[in-house]
């Protein structure tokens, strides 16, 4: 009995091994061939059933917006599933692997490269979507190797939040360029009683979003034009990192801030009167600051170097290749990026429109701070959509941390980053 079972176990193991080995080896690469724009979408109203996933607050509110679409297309039924942000990436990747994706979904801008790499997204049909109506930086996030696979749905960009009351105490009414920003941050500490002149992220996840605007403004790039090689090791990049580092070496920015950001509270009590962030921080600081605080601060554009370029984030909306109802899904996407829908969505969610025409609407021009975000969006960039960006940006963050905290030379840091990024590659 034992003999037999042992033998059969061995046979089984050997069988498994040969099964494994004989089936191994990669087939022909299918993903690297260039893809044209998506095929045309049928005329007429949308019909059938469309399943949609969306994350976070957007996921909860999207259902209400979609009612307008179903009212105009009575024969379509749209099911919106809200997915929590922290579970979203795993849910998408496993759905892609299992072929159970929804027809359309909100797609994080930094996921584009990966999802296209997984061959999951349907190229944007050029007959349906006109790329010129979007902010160029936002449109760029939908493109992988020159082909667009989604549309920008909503956007956000980063501006300088300033306590204007303290800035005027320090003798400033603007921070036009890099020198002025440095001088203002120092004056905030010396003349306006601030503990730290400005809050900048000394490394840790996402710090690249604060460093890259300086680098872009200085003419540096992440990759070459054709997105074939990284270009971190440039004098422009190194100079931008050195500028970022100077805030820490001069003692103007905190090298070891709390893990959980207290930026809103520190801003309200004046201990850290400047930081870079997106539109959501307006309501956050006003809530912490209480009544009357809205008059004490403003949002200023990125300081100019060669340009005044900020970071553009937000989310895209795409249709999956495995969609059962592709045409209706694209029609829904078309509805979502209609200028009027975008304005309405702003009213529901405070998400900023990705379509430039929507910014003419009085709802968006009324608040001059919101309008300032709209202006900055004209000059805002995002990293190219490459599938390994998460990994490259993690290296970026850890090197920024070394530059800010332990005084690593910026020139050396960007050189190391170039090597590490190149060895990680761009996927595929």
């Amino acid at each position: 009995m034992t003999m037999i079972s042992r033998r059969s176990a061995l046979l089984g193991a050997a069988g498994l091994a040969t099964l494994g080995l004989s089936a191994c080896g990669r087939g022909n690469d299918t993903g690297s061939q260039p893809t044209g724009p998506g095929s045309a979408v049928s005329e007429g109203k949308a019909t059938g059933e469309v399943t949609v996933w969306a994350m976070g607050a957007e996921g909860e509110k999207l259902g209400d917006l979609v009612e307008k679409f179903t009212a105009a297309n009575p024969e379509v039924k749209v099911t919106v599933t809200a997915v929590p942000w922290d579970a979203a990436h795993d849910k998408f990747t496993s759905a892609i692997a299992a072929g159970t994706t929804p027809d359309a979904a909100m797609v994080g801008t930094t996921w584009m490269g990966e999802f296209v790499d997984l061959d999951a997204l349907d190229p944007t049909p050029a007959d349906l979507i006109d790329k010129t109506v979007f902010f160029p930086g936002a449109w760029q996030t939908t493109e992988v190797k020159g082909t667009s696979y989604a549309v920008p749905w909503y956007v956000e960009t980063r501006l300088l939040f300033v306590r204007t009351d303290l800035a005027s105490k320090a003798g400033f009414t603007e921070a036009k360029d890099w020198d002025q920003l440095s001088a203002l941050a120092k004056a905030m500490q010396q003349k306006a009683g601030a503990k730290w002149g400005i809050s900048l992220q000394p490394g840790q996840e996402g710090s690249w979003q604060q460093v890259m605007p300086f680098a872009w403004s200085n003419g540096a790039t992440i990759t070459d034009e054709a997105v074939t090689a990284f270009t971190f090791d440039s004098p422009e990049m190194s100079e931008a990192w050195a500028y970022y580092q100077s805030f820490f070496t001069d003692g103007v920015a905190d090298k070891a801030p709390a893990v959980q950001s207290t930026a809103d509270a520190d801003f309200a009590n004046g201990s850290v009167p400047m930081f870079f962030s997106g539109p959501w921080m307006m309501s956050a600081v006003e809530k912490v600051g209480g009544s009357g605080f809205a008059d004490k601060y403003d949002v200023w554009p990125m300081p100019t170097r060669k340009t005044a370029t900020s970071f553009v984030g937000g989310s895209n909306f795409g249709v999956f290749k495995a969609a059962k109802n592709r045409d209706a899904a694209w029609k829904l996407v078309q509805f979502l990026v209609d200028p009027a829908t975008q304005v309405e969505w702003y009213g529901m969610s405070s998400d900023l429109p990705a379509v430039t025409a929507s910014w003419q609407d009085p709802k968006l021009t009324a608040d001059k701070r919101v309008a300032a975000f709209g202006q900055q969006l004209e000059a805002a960039l995002a990293p190219p959509a490459i599938s390994t960006w998460d990994q490259v940006s993690a290296k970026f963050d850890s090197l920024v941390e070394k530059v800010c905290k332990s005084g690593l030379a910026p020139a050396e840091a960007v050189k190391t980053l170039q090597q590490e990024a190149t060895s990680i590659g761009m996927g595929q």
């Binding site: 990669r26 087939g27 990966e114 709390a258 850890s398």
Partner: protein, 313 residues
């Protein structure tokens, strides 16, 4: 069964019985298989297969995009293992994990044993309350614990630094300084985990025969001597169990840095499990699988060593 070749037509009691037992046995076999098969299937599909596949994965260049076609990948031998062992982040993580285990395990065992002895002998009033108090951190969600500990360790207004300041000691930025972040996490882990060991030690202490203690007391042994000469040796199996489970847990430590520091500052608190988690997140499944098996090997070796050192002779 096969040896019973029936010849002739004589019907005897022996011959009549034989096939019946054979049938019975066969029926029993069948029943046994029917009962065992569900477990076997579940074990094969959900335990053995994932283990085999993940091991296979660690020898290939599997990435996230290969999930749909798990076998059309290239076998690259030990390249992932070599890559893991030459990755500075992974090596830093290994050093951090080693430090965490070397300091954390003895401290946890000492705290657990001390509190168990105190509850067994010293504390008589409100014993239940103390027992509950010491065990509460074990069953409290790490997320809630993290929030409280972040408050405690805050550089300006945290309780720890307020106390240190009041008695004139330096006030470090615990989680912000690469030299104090890991010790802070060790302290937090000890606080969070010694309750489990305490409960097990308490059970062990209560099984130490009172007669032995009395005999030793009559022979004039003091409490200290009685503890080291009688109680402690009798606790050896308990100690082994607590040491092994605590060490395995600490070798895989993940939650504390994940919620408190995200591995920072400057990778001073990143653990091997966290480094592995990051690689899984990046989609480098092959490399992450190799890292997991490296942890597994280390756990196996360390556990074997502990069995050798602490087991009863």
């Amino acid at each position: 069964m096969t040896s019973t070749t029936v010849t002739g037509t004589r019907a005897g009691p022996r011959r009549a019985e034989k096939p019946r037992t054979g049938q019975l046995r066969r029926a029993e076999h069948r029943a046994a298989w029917v009962l065992v098969i569900p477990f076997c299937l579940l074990f094969l599909v959900f335990t053995l297969w994932p283990v085999l596949q993940s091991m296979f994965m660690s020898f290939t260049d599997t990435r996230a995009r290969d999930l749909r076609t798990p076998f059309s990948v290239n076998v690259i031998g030990f390249a992932n293992y070599a890559k893991a062992l030459s990755d500075p982040v992974f090596l830093r993580a290994a050093a951090n994990t080693a430090a965490f285990v070397l300091f954390g395990v003895p401290l946890t065992l000492a705290a657990a044993l001390a509190s168990a002895v105190a509850l067994d002998k010293g504390i008589t009033r409100l014993r239940g309350l103390f027992r509950l108090g010491f065990y509460t951190p074990v069953i409290t969600s790490i997320v809630a614990v993290a929030v409280v500990w972040r408050f405690l360790l805050q550089p300006d207004s945290g309780l720890v630094n307020t106390v240190l300041g009041a008695i004139g000691l330096p006030e470090p930025n615990w989680l912000g300084d690469p030299y104090t972040a890991l010790p802070a996490l060790v302290a937090m882990a000890v606080w969070r985990n010694f309750g489990t060991g305490m409960i097990i030690f308490l059970a062990g202490l209560q099984s130490v025969p009172a007669a032995l203690q009395e005999a030793a007391a009559i022979d004039g042994a003091g409490a200290w001597r009685r503890f080291w000469a009688i109680t402690f040796p009798l606790l050896r199996p308990t100690l082994l169990f607590v040491a092994v489970t605590t060490t395995i847990g600490y070798l895989q430590f993940f939650e504390e840095p994940f919620v408190m520091t995200k591995g920072g500052p400057l990778n001073s608190t990143i653990s091997v499990s966290m480094a592995t988690y990051q690689q899984f997140g990046f989609g480098n499944y092959g490399l992450a699988g190799a890292m997991s098996y490296l942890i597994f090997v280390v756990i196996a070796i360390v556990t074997a060593l502990q069995f050798r050192l602490i087991r009863e002779r």
